[in-house]
Symmetry: C2
Subunit: 463 residues, 2 copies
C-alpha cells in the first residue's frame, strides 16, 4: 500500500503487505459511503453519553472482518504515538478537561505503581506533556509505597519525570509535601480539582481514592479491574455493533467478535472446565456457521482470557474444546494469575479474529488511541514470533508509529478502497470509536457495582 | 530560528531572521509562564460566550509588542494552511458543527460571488473538504446571478468544485434544482440545517438570507460588512486586552494597538478631514508617550483604513496629521471605495505596528486561523516590495505555510524564549484567540444593529 500522492505532508505510513480480499473492501466501501450517517450517529450518541476521558482499542483486521478485541480505559503507550499527532491530542484533551472541570488550574495524574519501567514512565511523561499543554499544572502522585518523597526519574531523550507521594487530607487527595503539618488547612500543597488515573487498579480499589470530597476522579473507580469485566464491555459492544450494522446495512458480525463467559473458574483446582469447554464449543460452532455463510476458508479459533485481566497475561488461543480440558500444570499456572497477582475466576471466551496485517516481517495489529471522543493516533503492535491467531501483547512485541492523523478523520473518498491508507485508517477510527461508545455504556451500567469500602481514612498516605 | 531538535516530526518551520529584542522576549516569557492562567481564562471565557464558527487574525510582531491588527470573520485562505493541520481543523470543525446543529446531515456553504478567482475557489474546496470530513454532506450555493445552473469548476491539483445556484423556498434556502416545481414540498432538493457564510456581505445583506425558517446561519448576517465595523471589534478587544493584561501583569498596550474613529468622512468631497487629522494626531501622541516610556526608538505611524473595509483596500500609512489633509485626487479615490464599490464613510485610525519579521527577503506578518475556539493553523503573508510599516495585504503578496500545529498549543517550555519556534507560535495563538474572544463579544453587542429588510421574499432565486 503506497502513501497516497495527494497527502504529501503525511509522515510515512507503514507499507502494509496485507493481502486484502473482497469482503473487507466491501466493508471499507460501505463505511466510507456511510460517513455522513456514521458521523451524525456519533454526534448524536455523544449528546446523550459521556465519553471516557481516554482509551485505547486493539483491533484485528481479518480481511473479512474488522473488530475490536480489547478496550483499555487506562491506556499506556502514549509515547508510541507519532509526535505529529500531539496537537490533535492536546485539542482533544482540552475538550476532556472542559467537560471535567472547566475552572481547573491543576490536575493530578496517578500512574501505575511500578516505578522502574522506563517505557511506561515515558508514557506518563508524554501524558503530562499533553495535559500540561491544555494549560493545567500537572503533577504525578504515586500510590506506590516506595515513593516516600518527590523523586525525579531520568528518561531517554533528556526528559525527566517527577513522581511524588500521594496523600489524603480532609477527604481530598493531593501532594502535600513531606513532613507538612497534616492538620494544616485544605488547599495547602497541590490540591487538584481533578485526578486522572493511569492505573487500572488491578491491585484493588485503593482506599485513599474513595469518596473524595469535591474532587473529580476519572476514569471512575468502577472502571478499574476490581469491578470491570471484559464481558460487560462486549455485552455493551453487542448493542452498539447491532445499531451500527443496521445504520450501514451490514451483518454486525463484520465488526463484532462472538463471545461467551464462564464464572467460578479455578484453573489450578481444575474447576469450571465444563463451562469453559462448552463455551469454547459454542463460540466455535457459531464462527463455523458464519465462515460457511461467507465462504471463509479459515480454521476458527477462540481466545480464552481473564475477564478482568490485562497486560496480555492469562491469554490462550484454543481451536478445540478438548484443549481447555487438557491443560498441563504450566498452562494452568499461566492462566490462573494475571497482573499484580490477581486470581482469575471469571473467563471470557472470545472469537479469535486473525490478523492479516504484516509489518517488517512481523504479525501486526493496529491499536487506536482516543482522548475524549476523538481519535488522537495509533500504532501497530508487531510481533515477529507470533502467529496470526495469537495474542501479540507479549514480550518481544515492538511498535510501529502510525501518523494516522489525516487518516482517521480525513478519508480520501476519491481513492479506491484498499488503495489509500487513509481509507483503511478511517475505518479503524470508526470501529475504535464504536468500542469507545460501548465503554461509555458499560461505565454507565457498572457505576453501581463498586463494593463499598469499610470506611475511607480521612488522613492517610498511599498504602 | 532553528527547528527545535525535539520536534523532529514537525514539517519545516520557516527560518525567521527576526532580530528580536528585549521586550518581546519578556512578553513571550510572561505568556509562557502564565500558560495555566491563560488557558483557564479561555476555558472559562468560552463557558459564557459562543465562539464564531471560524476566523482569521492578522498579527504584527514589532519586537516590543505583539498585536492583532485585523480580524476576519469570513476567512478565505484555508488553502494556504499546511496539509498537516487538517486533522486538527477537522476536529475543531466537529466541535463547531456540534454546537451549530448536532443532528445535521448537510450543510450549505455560501462563498463570495466572484467565481473566477481560482485561489479563492481552492479555499472553498478546502473548506468543503474539512467540513465533509466531519461527516456532513456539504454543497456550495452561490449568490451570484451568473450561476444559473450547477457548475463544475476545475481547480489546480485535479480538484473540482461544484457550485450551484442558491434558491429560497418556504422561508428556507437550499439547492432546489433547475426547473423544479417551486411549489413542491419543503425538503425536496438540498435543504440544509445549517448555512455557513464564506461571504463577507460587502455588497449588502442579501434578502434571500434574511429571516430563515429553522435554519442556522453562521456567521450571522450582522457579522457582514453592512453592519460590522472594525472599531466595534477593537472596542471589544480593548476590554479583552485589559483583562488579559491584568491576568498576566503586563501593560495592555503590549498586545493592543491604539485606535480612533471618524464617521461621516467623504474623501472625494474632502469632508471630515478635521476629524481625521485630529484623530491621527491624537493616536500618534499616545504612541509617542509609550515609545518614550519604554525607550523605543521608532517613528510612530498610524494606519488609516475603512472601518467597514476589507481585502486590503482603502488603507494608508500616515506618519503625520498633515498627510491626511494633503491627499491628491488619486489618493482620495483610492481611499473612497472598497470592495464591491462600497463607499467609505467611517474610518478607523489604528496605531501602526511595524512588523519585524522577514521571510525570504520579504516583509512578513503571521495570519492565524481558528475554527470554533481552536487554532487550526496559519501562514506568513509575505511582501517583497512593502516596508515594515505598510499593509501587506496587497497584490504581490505570497504565503508561506506555517505548520504551527505543535506550535500553537504545544509550547516547549524548556526552551529559552526566542530560541524555539513553538514558543513564539504559542504567543501568536494566544493573541489570535484574544481577538477571537473580542469577536464573540462584538457579535453579541452588534446583534441588534442589522437593519430590517422591507420584506423577505418567500420564493426567490439568488439576486
Amino acid at each position: 500500500m503506497q502513501q497516497p500522492a495527494d497527502h504529501p505532508g503525511h509522515p510515512a505510513v507503514p507499507h502494509l503487505t496485507t493481502a486484502l480480499t473482497g469482503p473487507l473492501l466491501e466493508l471499507e466501501r460501505r463505511i466510507l459511503d456511510s460517513m455522513p450517517a456514521i458521523e451524525r450517529w456519533f454526534r448524536l450518541f455523544w449528546q446523550d453519553h459521556v465519553p471516557p476521558f481516554y482509551g485505547s482499542v486493539d483491533l484485528r483486521n481479518a480481511g473479512y472482518k474488522l473488530a475490536p478485541v480489547d478496550m483499555n480505559l487506562f491506556p499506556a503507550g502514549f509515547n508510541n504515538l507519532s509526535e505529529d499527532m500531539l496537537p490533535c491530542a492536546v485539542q482533544a484533551a482540552q475538550a476532556a478537561v472542559e467537560r471535567l472541570c472547566p475552572d481547573a488550574r491543576n490536575l493530578l495524574l496517578v500512574p501505575e505503581r511500578h516505578t522502574r519501567n522506563l517505557h511506561y514512565l515515558t508514557n506518563v511523561a508524554r501524558l503530562v506533556r499533553i495535559l500540561a499543554a491544555t494549560g493545567l499544572e500537572v503533577r504525578v502522585g504515586s500510590l506506590s509505597a516506595e515513593v516516600t518523597e518527590p523523586t525525579v526519574i531520568s528518561l531517554p531523550g533528556n526528559e525527566q519525570l517527577r513522581v511524588e507521594p500521594l496523600a489524603r487530607r480532609h477527604g481530598r487527595v493531593g501532594l502535600f509535601g513531606h513532613g507538612d503539618d497534616p492538620e494544616s488547612t485544605p488547599g495547602a500543597g497541590f490540591d487538584p480539582c481533578a485526578i486522572l488515573l493511569n492505573n487500572d487498579l488491578s491491585a484493588g480499589t485503593p482506599e485513599i481514592l474513595r469518596d473524595l470530597r469535591d474532587q473529580v476522579l476519572v476514569p471512575p473507580l468502577h472502571a478499574g479491574w476490581t469491578v470491570r469485566r471484559k464481558s460487560h464491555h462486549f455485552a455493551a459492544y453487542d448493542e452498539i455493533a447491532d445499531e451500527f450494522a443496521r445504520l450501514i446495512s451490514i451483518d454486525a458480525w463484520m465488526v463484532n467478535p462472538y463471545f461467551a463467559r464462564c464464572s467460578a473458574v479455578d484453573f489450578q483446582a481444575r474447576e469450571g472446565e465444563d463451562c469453559l469447554a462448552e463455551s469454547v464449543d459454542h463460540v466455535l460452532t457459531r464462527i463455523r456457521a458464519k465462515h460457511k455463510e461467507y465462504g471463509i476458508d479459515e480454521q476458527p479459533f477462540v481466545i480464552v482470557k481473564a475477564d478482568a485481566g490485562t497486560y496480555g497475561m492469562g491469554i490462550m488461543t484454543v481451536k478445540d474444546a478438548s484443549e481447555v480440558r487438557d491443560l498441563n500444570r504450566k498452562q494452568r499456572n499461566r492462566m490462573a494469575v494475571v497482573k499484580e497477582g490477581l486470581q482469575v475466576s471469571d473467563v471470557i471466551i472470545q472469537e479469535g479474529v486473525p490478523t492479516r496485517e504484516r509489518i517488517e516481517e512481523g504479525t501486526a495489529e493496529p491499536v487506536v488511541y482516543m482522548v475524549d471522543k476523538y481519535v488522537v493516533g495509533g500504532f501497530y503492535r508487531v510481533h515477529r514470533e507470533r502467529g496470526i491467531d495469537e495474542n501479540l501483547n507479549a514480550p518481544g512485541a515492538h511498535f510501529v508509529q502510525l501518523a494516522f492523523a489525516g487518516a482517521c478523520n480525513l478519508p480520501d473518498c476519491r481513492a479506491l478502497p484498499g488503495t489509500a491508507a487513509p481509507n483503511r485508517f478511517y475505518s479503524y477510527g470508526v470501529v475504535a470509536r464504536l468500542a469507545l461508545a460501548a465503554a461509555a455504556i458499560e461505565l454507565e451500567r457498572t457505576a453501581q457495582l463498586l463494593p463499598k469500602a469499610s470506611s475511607a481514612p480521612d488522613v492517610a498516605v498511599a498504602q
